[in-house]
Amino acid sequence: MRKALSLLLFSVLVSLGVTAWGAGTIKLGVIAELTGDMPAVGASCRNAAEMAVKEVNAAGGLKVGKEKMKVELVVEDNAGKADQSAAAAQKLITQDEVLAIVGPNASRYAIPASEIAESSQTVLITPWSTNPKTTLDATTNKPKKYVFRACFIDPFQGGVLAKFALENLKAKKAAVLYDVASDYNKGIAEVFKANYEKLGGKIVAFETYTTNDKDFSAQLTKIKDAKPDVIFLPNYYSEVPLQVQQAKRLGITAPFIGSDSWGSNELLTLGGADLNGYYFSTHYAADNAAPVAKKFIADYEKAYGTKPDDVAALTYDAFGLLFDSIQSAGKADREAIRAALSTLPSYKGVTGDMKFQADSRDPIKSAVILQIKDGKFTYYTNANP
């Protein structure tokens, strides 16, 4: 009995000690695709998150009410899996008790994680998930209360690309090859099709494949047979080079266009010269950045040796949004942060100005079109649908 009592006393003391020690810090969670099929995305996300937190801590921390609080980062890997994304969100919220979460990035991981965040009433900002479903409630189709994003959404991006293909590339006939098992690819392919047809273009082939396929020869042969002027590949950077190379081997000469899933530097490593001259839409152009962004790009290059891709820039902005809303909320409280974030005045981020509308979790911002030129992403034009 005495032993049990002392054990109880001990555990109470320990827990008191922990809370007292933890009072001066704010815990923020990150869910990133560190392993799995898109590790470059996860690495960019983690790098930018660590940089954002380091900068805030170097400046003494966040000003919350009257006291300055340091930020502590908890990074979880989702292993490129939907179930592990949800599990990581659960762990961050209940076990690590983070104040808010940034990530996951790909829509097929962000959607399951967002469900957990919403039901646990914790703010989650996804940097890179552009599928509309991420911030919408699946049953009511109304905006989720706690899930935000730092990027534009696919209906917007699909519209931008449809217009670009018709007006800039003068392509009257388009073909699409997309991963039908992935929320992002499927969503944007459908939006592109609808917009392209509405603007007077003709979709001559609308072909699908499934995640992890490596052989696209049957679909590409069908596409070749349909003689398109342009081929849209709204797929992730690890698959696009395979698709382009196989198409060229089949004698396809039409140009390719892509969406923001192309925007990783890994695309250039994997694809090389085969991708030269093609265009894609994305969130920001490193070589045509605003002054706020220039400092970020320089710091990131110094710290990690590569130019920040769009995931890095958007993650950095997601943290910027979070920091601003924590400071304006004035207290480290999940509900207060949610309220502050949704009423935040226009935020000047690395990827441009953004603001959340009253009834939406998707910021209003514009897209850029980049061209791949001599193994580099080069700014081509700004784009709005």
Binding site: L34, T35, D37, P39, A40, V180, E207, T208, Y209, T210, N212, D213, K214, D215, S217, A218, Q219, T221, K222, K224, D225, S238, E239, P241, L242, Q245, Q246, K248, R249, L250, G251, E266, T269, L270, G271, G272
Partner: protein
């Protein structure tokens, strides 16, 4: 040529390329089964390691195609022998299920070992300059020609070795009877090692060709391809070398043709339904024969 014919010729070429790669891997499954009546589930991952050997030889040693291919086959063959000696030989008299679990374990080990060393997908440089010929609308790439011819060549060599040489005769004898054949002076362990070396070497060759045709490789690439090759071997009649080749070309053809006719999501379900029906009609596969148990 009319457009319809061009289209189907093109799809047939696509099917031949895919079938060739499945066939090279299927041979490894069928050979090991033929001799040990054991399904070597790590075989798909040996194929994956083959692709990574190809990456190492091409990128770090800067070798051209032919030495890369030879080195990869040799490396994979050694890996195959090592796996057999370390993981399967001690279990040769253990219950069948233990050997299967060990094979699965070896496969998972190989995947995660590679993942730990190379978490990012790797790009294989173009080892061969690709030329695409236009034959009346049908595009034929030099890579396709090499893959198909090299695979067929290797299969003919293997067929010759198994049916016309003393080593091949020893293999066939052991697959017939493991108790009495060694008593007649056939070195059991050596023949089993040779079988694993040949099977793994062919998987290495498949890995190289796959890496050239689909030059983005990752540690999990062997799982699905391995399954498909295994299924090819079963459809053709597991244990039968010619059957494995036939099964692989059937599977490759069905996959490509289903995708050509239907939406791609139908591919696996139509392909596997057809294969299951085939198995129902011929339970031992196309060329397989039931083994009679002599008492």
């Amino acid at each position: 040529m009319s457009e319809g014919i061009v289209y189907w010729l093109q799809q047939t070429l696509n099917a031949l390329q895919l079938g060739s790669i499945y066939a090279l891997i299927a041979l490894g499954y069928t050979m090991v089964y033929g001799i040990l009546t054991m399904i070597n589930f790590a075989h798909g991952d040996v194929f994956m390691i083959g692709a990574f050997f190809c990456f190492l030889a091409a990128v770090y040693l800067g070798l051209p195609f032919a030495p890369t291919l030879l080195l990869t086959m040799l490396g994979a063959a050694l890996l195959g022998v090592a796996i057999e000696r370390l993981a399967y030989k001690p279990l040769r008299h253990a219950p069948r299920v233990s050997a299967i679990i060990t094979a699965l374990g070896v496969g998972i080990f190989l995947e995660n070992f590679t993942l730990a060393l190379a978490p990012y997908p790797k790009n294989i440089p173009a080892l061969l300059e690709n030329i695409t010929w236009d034959l009346g609308g049908v595009s034929l790439s030099s890579l396709q020609v090499i893959i198909i011819l090299l695979s067929l060549g290797l299969m003919f060599v293997l067929d010759y070795v198994v049916h016309r040489t003393p080593v091949g005769m020893a293999m066939r004898a052991i697959s017939w009877d493991k108790t009495f054949v060694p008593l007649m002076g056939v070195p059991l362990d050596l023949i089993i090692s040779i079988t694993f070396a040949i099977g793994a070497g062919l998987a290495g060759a498949a890995g190289t060709m796959y890496a050239l045709a689909y030059p983005v490789i990752d540690p999990y690439m062997g799982i699905m391809v391995g399954w498909k090759a295994f299924i090819s071997a079963v459809v053709g009649g597991i244990g039968n070398i010619r059957g494995a080749m036939i099964g692989a070309f059937i599977l490759g053809g069905v996959e490509i043709m289903v995708t050509a006719f239907f939406p791609s999501t139908y591919r696996d379900f139509v392909a596997f339904t057809l294969l299951m029906l085939l198995i129902l009609v011929r339970p031992y596969g196309i060329l397989g024969k039931p083994r009679t148990q002599k008492v």
